[in-house]
């Protein structure tokens, strides 16, 4: 069945209105329905969503800042372009590095929500940046001890103690 408005696309939305005992029906495609202001939730694939957002181009206000697409996570080396390619992020810290760019995506995927309100781990969670730093220092410490570089190991141990 064809859309009654554009006469070209397939009608996937069927509206029935009953007013004063009179029944009217309308058959629209998704695009015309949106234009008519009929709210339809549709599931947009993540890749497409991100491409649309990235393609929107640089913002007009203020002086041109660093190109957002070139922003790189110092922990895992991911860029937004990499995320677009793989449809997954590189590490938990990406949520901080790319927060501004990810926010519209998150809102769209979760019906406007941007804050967690469910279960939390029993332990008090350190934030991801700090946690990864601690883990990195621990690994360096193990390596220093293995290499018998006890001076370095002592420095790292003190740094870790300071971080806690």
């Amino acid at each position: 069945m064809q859309c009654e408005i554009c006469q070209s696309k397939e009608a996937t939305i069927h509206l029935t209105e009953i007013a004063d005992g009179v029944r009217t029906e309308m058959h629209l495609c998704e695009q015309c329905a949106q234009e008519q202001g009929v709210g339809v939730k549709s599931y947009i694939p993540l890749n497409e969503l991100l491409s649309n957002l990235l393609a929107a181009g640089p913002k007009d206000e203020g002086p041109a800042g660093p190109d957002e697409n070139q922003l790189t996570c110092p922990r895992c080396g991911f860029t937004l372009e990499k995320f677009n390619e793989k449809a997954v992020l590189g590490c938990p810290y990406d949520y901080e590095v790319f927060e501004k760019e990810l926010l519209p995506l998150i809102k769209k995927a979760h019906d406007g929500a941007t804050t967690h309100c469910g279960k939390a781990p029993a332990r008090m969670p350190k934030d991801s940046k700090q946690q990864m730093e601690i883990d990195r220092l621990n690994r360096q410490l193990d390596e220093a001890v293995r290499k018998e570089d006890y001076e370095l190991a002592a420095k790292l141990r003190d740094k870790l103690a300071g971080n806690k």
């Binding site: 939730k41 967690h116 029993a122 991801s128």
Partner: protein, 374 residues
């Protein structure tokens, strides 16, 4: 632990028991988790993935779950066995055919599975027969807490459990039910159901998840939103609103078939029976659809007291003798058993070697004929 030790049996969630099991085949809750202090898998080297695998494997194998657990190194398992695990819904297709060091920890009764290094470091899953979402979430919560005592999860107070894909952010929970909707299909109302699901923000997928089609009138319905809602509310919405409505729609469609379309209903069941009892070659797709009609007939008899000529013929049939209580009567458990054991990987694993599609179709037909001849 060899897979053939349980490849001949149906698992717990295919028992045909459980609440609302004439429409809700099974319920499932899945949690996505990542370890703090590690990169997500897409940025990990092979060595880093192996490190994560070992860490989580050791923890999971050491848990006290009240059920024997065993480990499968998915990347080191033959492809046929991986397909077998997918057929049993123990691992996803993504996990079976992914890359790099990855594994699965499976509880003997197959109600609990953990996938390590699928899309996230850890994907926990609890599966139960019929509609048992509260029991699923209670069990998975307990296991999640046990693991969290041994390891730290990547978590931020603002965004919740941090997942590789932002679509799983927050609770990281996927609540789903496997529905059997043959009457809605027969009465031409499946589109309505699909549109209603879409409007509610729910995802509808086929028998084996993302990218599969709705074979055998099975539909997997699950939540898509994971952030900004709490786990209990998602489960509650399913249990109190979504599921009762869908069950009612399907029951109403079945009642309508009985009152207005008995000819159509009986025809579908008779044809299914005739083909299953006589055909020489049955493809797995065809088996799914034919068994779907048999399942419908049996359920309508058991739950709605239906007794049309075709249904009566069906209910007087012999089963495969596996259930002594039913004394040779064809049962849902038998249908479920046939459904599972005639899937391609199950067929070949139990036969003992790989077969080409014609031989599979012949073997499948033979197994079904034997089960229905009673």
């Amino acid at each position: 632990m060899k897979l053939t030790e349980f490849s001949q049996n149906i698992n717990e969630w295919l028992s045909g028991n459980g609440p609302l099991s004439d429409v809700i085949i099974s319920s499932r809750v899945r949690l996505a988790r990542n370890l703090a202090g590690h990169k997500f898998l897409a940025a990990c080297s092979v060595a880093e993935k192996a490190e994560i695998l070992k860490k989580l494997k050791d923890i999971l194998m050491g848990l006290q779950l009240g059920d024997e657990v065993f480990y499968i190194g998915v990347d080191k398992t033959p492809v046929l066995e991986r397909r077998f695990l997918v057929e049993r819904h123990l691992i996803s297709q993504h996990h079976a055919f992914g890359k790099g060091p990855r594994g699965a920890v499976i509880a003997r009764r197959e109600s609990f599975t953990a996938m390590i290094n699928e899309e996230d470091h850890l994907r926990l899953q609890v599966l139960k027969a019929g509609c048992q979402l509260p029991a699923c979430i209670e069990q998975i919560d307990r296991i999640d807490d046990m693991i969290e005592q041994k390891v730290e999860y990547a978590f931020s107070p603002k965004y919740g459990y941090l997942t590789a894909c932002p679509t799983n952010l927050g609770t990281g929970i996927r609540v789903s039910v496997m529905l059997h909707l043959p009457a809605l299909k027969m009465t031409g109302q499946i589109e309505k159901f699909l549109n209603a699901a879409k409007a509610l923000g729910l995802a509808v997928r086929g028998l084996f998840g993302e990218g599969t089609e709705a074979a055998g009138d099975f539909y997997q319905l699950s939540n898509q939103i994971t952030l900004g809602v709490c786990e209990k509310d998602i489960v509650s919405q399913f249990e109190k609103t979504i599921i009762p409505e869908i069950v009612e729609y399907e029951h109403a469609a079945r009642a309508r078939l009985l009152s207005h379309d008995v000819g159509l209903l009986d025809d579908k069941i008779s044809r299914a029976l005739a083909l299953l009892k006589n055909a020489n070659l049955i493809s797995s797709q065809e088996a799914l659809f034919l068994l779907s009609h048999i399942r419908l007939g049996l359920n309508m008899h058991q739950h709605q007291g239906a007794s049309t000529p075709a249904i009566n013929r069906l209910c007087s049939l012999g089963g495969d003798g596996g259930d002594a209580k039913a004394a040779n009567r064809l049962s849902i458990a038998t249908v479920n058993r046939l459904f599972l054991l005639t899937l391609p990987a199950h067929l070949q694993l139990n036969y003992g070697k790989e077969l080409d599609s014609t031989h599979r179709d012949a073997l499948r037909a033979q197994i079904i004929r034997q089960a229905l001849s009673g």
